[in-house]
C-alpha cells in the first residue's frame, strides 16, 4: 500500500510540474487572446524561434545571460512586428482569417527559422545540473522544477500587472470593450502590440525552458499542440486559468498514463486531455475561469 501511495504521489508531482510547463506556453496564448481576441496557432513556433535564437547566441561563445537578453529583445521585437504587419490589417475579420494567418506565420517560421538560425539539433545547457531534486518520496529533474517556478513567477507578475499597473488596467479595458476604451483615450492599437510583445516575452522564457528540456530544433514547435486543452479547460482569457488548466492537464495525463495505460495497452496520455477538453466544451465552454460571454448558438 505504501508503495502504491508513493507511486500516486510521484505521478501527481511529475504531472503537476509538467503541467506548469504547459502553462508557460499557454500563458503566451492567453495574453494575446485576452487583449486582442486573436488566436495564435503559431505559439509553438514562437517557442521554437526563441530556443533557436538562444542556442545561436550560445553557439557564438556568448554567456547564457547574453542569450537571455538577446532572446528577450528579439521576441519583443518580433511580437511588435508581427502585430503591425500581419495582425493589425486583419482586425475585424472573421476568426478563421486570424487562425489561418497564424498558421501561415507558423509555416514561415518553420521554413525560415532553421534556414537562418541553423538546422541541426543543438543542446541548450542551463547551469542547473542534472541531479534530480528530491521532493518527499519522489524526484523531479531540475529543469522541470525551474519551468514550474518560471510559470508560477509569470503568473504572479501578470496577475499583479493586470490588477495594479496602469498599463494592465488599460489592457483589461481594451479587452472588455474596445470602443469604450478608445473613447476613454486609450490607444487600443498600442495595447494590441503590447500584448503580442508580452506573448513574445513568455515565449522567450518558454523557449529557454523547453529548449533545455528537449534540445532545440524544428520539433520544439510541437509543444504548441499542448496549448489547446490547457486553455480550453482554464478559460481562454484567464491567466489563472492557464495555470490551473496546465496543472489539471498535466496531472490527468500523468494519471492516465500511470493507471489507464496498463489496461488499454497504452497511449491514453494524448487522448485523455482532449476527451476532457470536449467534455468541458460541451458543459462549460468558457472554461473554469473564463468570462461567460462566449458566443453561443
Amino acid at each position: 500500500m505504501g508503495e502504491d501511495l508513493e507511486f500516486f504521489f510521484a505521478l501527481m508531482l511529475s504531472g503537476a510540474s509538467i503541467g506548469l510547463m504547459y502553462s508557460l506556453i499557454a500563458l503566451g496564448f492567453v495574453l494575446v487572446y485576452k487583449a486582442t481576441d486573436a488566436i495564435n496557432f503559431a505559439q509553438g513556433e514562437f517557442v521554437m524561434l526563441a530556443g533557436m535564437v538562444v542556442v545561436t547566441v550560445l553557439g557564438a561563445e556568448a554567456p547564457l545571460i547574453a542569450g537571455v537578453v538577446v532572446v528577450l529583445l528579439v521576441m519583443v521585437g518580433f511580437g511588435f512586428g508581427l502585430e503591425r504587419v500581419v495582425l493589425r490589417p486583419l482586425l475585424g475579420r472573421p476568426v478563421v482569417a486570424v487562425i489561418m494567418a497564424t498558421i501561415g506565420v507558423a509555416a514561415v517560421l518553420r521554413g525560415w527559422g532553421p534556414l537562418v538560425l541553423g538546422i541541426e539539433t543543438r543542446a541548450l545547457p542551463l547551469p542547473i545540473g542534472d541531479e534530480p531534486i528530491n521532493i518527499g518520496p519522489a524526484t523531479l529533474p531540475p529543469i522541470q522544477v525551474l519551468g514550474a517556478v518560471v510559470a508560477v513567477l509569470f503568473f504572479l507578475v501578470f496577475s499583479w500587472f493586470f490588477k495594479k499597473s496602469r498599463m494592465g488596467v488599460a489592457m483589461r479595458a481594451v479587452a472588455d470593450n474596445q470602443q469604450v476604451a478608445q473613447a476613454m483615450g486609450i490607444n487600443v492599437e498600442r495595447y494590441f502590440a503590447l500584448a503580442w510583445a508580452m506573448a513574445g516575452i513568455v515565449s522567450a522564457l518558454g523557449g529557454i525552458v523547453w529548449g533545455a528540456m528537449l534540445g532545440v530544433d524544428v520539433q520544439l514547435a510541437l509543444v504548441g499542440l499542448k496549448v489547446f486543452p490547457v486553455v480550453i479547460l482554464g478559460g481562454l482569457d484567464s491567466i489563472g486559468g492557464a495555470l490551473i488548466g496546465g496543472l489539471i492537464i498535466g496531472i490527468v495525463e500523468s494519471l492516465a498514463a500511470g493507471y489507464l495505460d496498463p489496461y488499454v495497452g497504452g497511449g491514453t496520455k494524448d487522448f485523455a486531455p482532449y476527451v476532457l477538453m470536449i467534455l468541458v466544451l460541451m458543459i462549460r465552454p468558457y472554461g473554469i475561469f473564463g468570462r461567460r460571454q462566449i458566443e453561443r448558438v
Binding site: I99, I103, G265, F271, L281, I294, R296
Partner: protein, 355 residues
C-alpha cells in the same frame, strides 16, 4: 467562364440561377471537356498527368471543406480525419467483402458523413475558435481510434492494401487510366457542388453563415443545416479519402494527419472561401506551388547557392512562400484567387473601353 457579356439582361430568378448564364458558357464547358477528356491525356506526359491526378483528388476534398467553411461559416480542422474514415471504410469493404469501387466509394463517403455529424455536434453549441478546437480534438481522437482498433486498421501496420479499381475487367492501373477515373469523380464533385450551392440547401447554408439569428427567424432550422453541412462536407472528405486510397493502393491513417487538414484549409483560403471555382484554383495552386518552386530553383537557384545548400533552401523557401502566401491573401485579397480571376474578367468585360 471565359466569355464576356455585354451587360446584365436577366429578367427572372431562374435565369440568374442557371448553371450556364449564356449559351456560350455551355460551349466553354464543352470545349473544356474536350480538352480534358481527349486532348490532355493524349498529348501530355504521364508525369503531368500524375500531378493532375493529385489535383483532381485535392479538388474533391477542397470542395467539401469549402461547403463547410466557406458556405456555412463553420470551422473544421478535422478534414484529414474524415478522409481517413472514408479510406478505412472503403479499404475494409474492398478487402474483407471484395466489393468494387462503385460500392466502396459511396460507402466510405457515407461513413465519413456519419462520423462528421458526430464531430460536428459541438457546432450546435459553440462556434468560432471553440469549434475549431473541438474539431481538432475530433481529428486526434479519430487518429487514436484507428491506431488502436485492429478491426478498423487491419493490424499493427494500420495499413490495408487495396487493388486498383476496375470496371468490367478494365483495371485503372496506370497514371493515364487513373486520370480518367479521378477526372470523372472530380467533375461529379464540381457539378454536384455547383448544383448544391444554388439549391435551397446551399442558400440556407449561406444564410447560416451570414447571420444565423436572422436565418432562424426566416424559418431555417440552423441545427439541421449545420449538421447537414458537416455531413455533406465529410462525405466529400470521405470520398476524397477513398480516391486517395485507390490512387495510392493503400489506406494508412498516417497519410491523413493534422497537417493534411491544415493544407486543405490553406487551399480554400488561397482559392477563395465560398466559391467553387476558388476551391478548384486553390487545390491546383497548393498542389503546384512546391513543384513550381522546385523547378524554378533547380533552374535558377544554381546562380546563388551551392548544390549542398540548395536542398535546404528549396525546402525552406517552399514552406516560407506557402506561409507567406496565406498571410498575403488574407491581408490583401481575402477572397482569394477566385476574386483575382473575377477582377481580371471584369476588366476584360469592358475592355478596351474601360471608362
Amino acid at each position: 467562364m471565359f466569355h464576356r457579356e455585354s451587360g446584365v439582361f436577366k429578367t427572372t430568378y431562374a435565369a440568374d440561377m442557371a448553371l450556364y448564364p449564356l449559351p456560350i458558357a455551355k460551349w466553354t464547358m464543352i470545349a473544356l471537356a474536350v480538352i480534358f477528356v481527349l486532348i490532355v491525356p493524349m498529348m501530355v506526359h504521364e508525369y503531368y498527368l500524375s500531378i493532375l491526378n493529385l489535383i483532381f483528388i485535392a479538388i474533391v476534398g477542397a470542395l467539401g471543406l469549402n461547403i463547410l467553411v466557406g458556405y456555412t461559416g463553420q470551422i473544421s480542422i478535422g478534414h484529414g480525419a474524415f478522409m481517413s474514415v472514408g479510406a478505412y471504410t472503403a479499404a475494409n469493404l474492398a478487402v474483407k467483402l471484395g466489393l468494387p469501387f462503385w460500392l466502396t466509394l459511396p460507402a466510405g463517403g457515407l461513413m465519413a458523413a456519419l462520423i462528421g455529424v458526430v464531430v460536428g455536434m459541438p457546432s450546435l453549441r459553440i462556434k468560432g475558435l471553440y469549434l475549431a478546437i473541438a474539431t481538432l480534438a475530433g481529428q486526434l481522437i479519430i487518429e487514436w481510434t484507428i491506431n488502436r482498433v485492429p478491426a478498423i486498421s487491419g493490424g499493427a501496420q494500420a495499413s490495408i492494401e487495396v487493388d486498383r479499381p476496375s470496371l468490367f475487367g478494365f483495371a485503372f492501373n496506370t497514371q493515364g487510366r487513373l486520370y480518367f477515373f479521378l477526372l470523372f469523380f472530380a467533375v461529379i464533385a464540381i457539378v454536384a457542388t455547383l448544383n448544391l450551392v444554388r439549391s435551397r440547401i446551399g442558400r440556407a447554408f449561406v444564410a447560416v453563415r451570414d447571420q444565423d439569428i436572422a436565418a432562424e427567424i426566416i424559418g431555417i432550422n440552423i441545427y439541421r443545416y449545420k449538421l447537414l453541412a458537416f455531413a455533406i462536407s465529410s462525405f466529400y472528405a470521405g470520398v476524397c479519402g477513398v480516391l486517395y486510397t485507390y490512387y495510392f493502393g493503400i489506406a494508412n491513417y498516417e497519410q491523413f494527419q493534422l497537417i493534411v487538414s491544415i493544407d486543405y484549409l490553406a487551399m480554400i483560403i488561397i482559392g477563395g472561401l465560398g466559391s467553387v471555382l476558388g476551391s478548384i484554383l486553390g487545390a491546383t495552386f497548393v498542389t503546384l506551388l512546391p513543384i513550381v518552386i522546385r523547378i524554378f530553383m533547380e533552374n535558377v537557384g544554381g546562380l546563388f547557392f551551392t548544390a549542398a545548400e540548395m536542398a535546404n533552401v528549396i525546402s525552406g523557401l517552399r514552406l516560407g512562400v506557402f506561409g507567406g502566401l496565406i498571410i498575403f491573401f488574407l491581408i490583401v485579397e481575402p477572397e482569394g484567387l477566385n476574386r483575382l480571376w473575377r477582377n481580371i474578367r471584369s476588366y476584360f468585360r469592358v475592355w478596351p473601353f474601360s471608362y
